[in-house]
């Protein structure tokens, strides 16, 4: 109880609420008792700290609020592709008119010349890049294995369906959400096969042909969702030369491949993709690309047809974009939550693969 009183007195003293007589008396006590003097100093310091804390806390609130306000009014952008700085914006406003006139003249000339070039040039080669999905109808897999699969599938699917495309996919949410390429899904229904050969029916939750990404949701009573995923998905871009590896299904069995990141943009400067140096085959489409720490940095999607080992992968931040689209359009259902922590970063590669294997699926798309 005495401690309280002492503290109260000190606080009163420090906040100048004492009258002159009281103050003089207290200062005398303070002078004669080193312990009390020390307590006063300590408390003054504490009060300063808590005031500073209070001030910084409120400025943090103001900053968060300001950010929100500006974002809502569109005065700042939350896009990942801002390349202009404020200075450039100013220049832009200043020279907008001149620039637009110049641009339109340039545009007309460019159109004219490219039209001319098109008219005069020989017919160009088609198919410079090749999507890596499996055209199942075209690729004859071993008769025996296919027979076995179809028997198994019959129990889950309506009769008379025909597989028309396939590729790989991987979990982005332990609840059973899988990401793959949109071009893997050519049919109207899908099933996914895990690394042990078990099949699950999946529905197409979202198809974004522009970004070439699709989200599937496993909709099967046999599927038991995992507790959490061992890997995270990177939001930022990756450095040139980063060593990478992938797991996918160019055949009926999971296949591991390695390589490195060779360019920050994809085919003909496509800024949504990376260029990778690695070997990939039809069926690898939709496979995850991991960095050494086991973080997903991209989705394998296409390769250059004429050059061996030049492969393109969609950057992983596109996954966040389609997931946001899905969550925005999905009212009532469960939102997708992407894990941001990778817990396999310190493992050896073999252990990483053993952990990741069960999260990568063989995706097959069928039509009635």
């Amino acid at each position: 109880m005495e401690d309280f009183l002492l503290l109260e007195t000190i606080e009163k003293y420090l906040s100048n609420q004492m009258d002159a007589q009281e103050k003089a008396a207290f200062e005398l006590v303070r002078k004669n008792t080193p312990e009390i003097d020390q307590m006063v100093v300590e408390h003054a310091m504490f009060l300063q700290q808590i005031n500073e804390y209070s001030a910084i806390k409120s400025i943090k609130q103001t900053l968060t609020q300001t950010h929100q306000n500006l974002l809502e009014r569109g005065e700042i952008s939350n896009s990942e592709n801002v390349s202009s700085s404020a200075k450039i914006v100013q220049l832009f406003h200043k020279y907008k008119r001149v620039a637009s006139i110049a641009a339109s003249i340039g545009g007309v000339i460019a159109l004219f010349i490219s039209g001319l070039a098109l008219y005069l040039s020989p017919v160009s080669h088609s198919n410079q890049i090749q999507q890596l999905s499996n055209d199942i109808a075209a690729i004859k897999k071993s008769q025996q294995y296919q027979g076995k699969l179809i028997n198994e599938v019959k129990s889950k699917l309506p009769a008379g369906v025909k597989f028309i495309s396939g590729g790989s996919g991987f979990l982005i949410d332990a609840k059973g959400f899988i990401v793959t390429n949109a071009h893997v899904i050519k049919g109207t229904g899908t099933i996914v096969v895990d690394n042990t050969g078990k099949e699950y029916v999946a529905e197409i939750a979202l198809l974004d042909k522009e970004k070439d990404l699709a989200i599937l949701k496993i909709n099967d009573a046999d599927f038991t969702s995992k507790k959490s995923l061992p890997y995270s998905i990177r939001k930022s871009t990756t450095d040139l030369g980063e060593e990478i590896f992938t797991l996918g299904y160019p055949r009926n069995e999971i296949v591991y491949g390695t390589g490195y990141l060779s360019a920050r943009s994809g085919y003909e400067g496509d800024s949504l993709s990376y260029q990778l140096q690695m070997s990939a085959n039809p069926g690898n489409s939709g496979a995850p690309v991991f960095d050494n720490a086991g973080e997903v940095i991209g989705v394998l999607s296409t390769r250059e047809a004429q050059l061996e080992g030049v492969v393109f992968a969609l950057k992983s931040n596109n996954i966040y974009k389609v997931v946001n689209d899905y969550n925005a359009s999905n009212d009532g259902g469960k939102d997708i939550k992407i894990s941001t922590r990778s817990n396999i970063s310190r493992m050896s590669r073999k252990n990483q693969i053993a952990t990741l294997e069960s999260c990568v699926y063989y995706v097959k798309s069928f039509d009635k």
């Binding site: 401690d3 309280f4 503290l7 109260e8 300590e42 408390h43 504490f46 700290q49 808590i50 005031n51 500073e52 804390y53 209070s54 001030a55 910084i56 806390k57 409120s58 400025i59 943090k60 103001t62 900053l63 968060t64 609020q65 300001t66 950010h67 306000n69 500006l70 005065e75 700042i76 952008s77 939350n78 896009s79 990942e80 592709n81 801002v82 390349s83 202009s84 700085s85 404020a86 200075k87 914006v89 939001k235 930022s236 871009t237 450095d239 931040n317």
Partner: protein
């Protein structure tokens, strides 16, 4: 470059937590920082965090009355953000040779050292308050942060009178001080 009187006014506004001025500073500077971070392996979230931390560092400087800015606010914020982000990249073990947008920078290492100290004290106080539990946390926040008087606090928390609330407050305060100084001394 010497700070103009207009810039001094902005700093004063920041120091007094004036939301209109903070908004102006935000609007004028955020996109430059965003462009810098995005060009250097960062994301939008990184840009927001780094920018807000720089604003807090500037706020701390503006708070100490003697502070006179020796360059434009824009340059100061850019320099702080650049330093903070390079440090972060280094911690992540990632490539850290920045693409500069030909912006001038000034040395801010000493200021950032100061800021790191403030930041550590803030974190300790935050942890101490959080581990205090209720109703102590809200009571002390009400008194020291929202500056409510004892009478208002008593009625808000349902104490029968201000004296009881005051007793409770001092009990809580002693626990908070103990928690705070247990870590703060180590930090110093």
């Amino acid at each position: 470059m010497k700070a103009t009187s207009n810039e001094q006014a902005l700093l004063k506004g920041l120091a007094s937590n004036d939301s209109a001025i903070i908004e102006q500073l935000y609007k004028e500077n955020f996109s430059t920082i965003q462009a810098f971070i995005l060009a250097n392996n960062g994301s939008y979230d990184d840009a927001r965090d780094v920018f807000q931390e720089a604003m807090i560092a500037l706020y701390e400087k503006a708070q100490s009355g003697s502070f006179v800015l020796t360059c434009q606010i824009k340059t100061y914020i850019y320099s702080v953000c650049r330093r903070l982000w390079l440090k972060k990249l280094q911690q992540l073990g990632r490539y850290a040779q920045p693409v500069d947008n030909l912006e001038e920078t000034i040395a801010v290492e000493d200021d950032l050292e100061q800021h790191a100290k403030h930041d550590a004290a803030f974190a300790i106080m935050d942890r101490a308050l959080k581990s205090l539990g209720e109703p102590c946390k809200s009571l002390l926040e009400g008194y020291y942060l929202q500056k409510m008087d004892m009478q208002a606090l008593a009625s808000e928390f349902g104490y029968t009178n201000a004296d009881n609330a005051k007793n409770q407050k001092y009990k809580c305060l002693m626990r908070l001080k103990k928690l705070f100084f247990a870590q703060y001394n180590i930090g110093e």
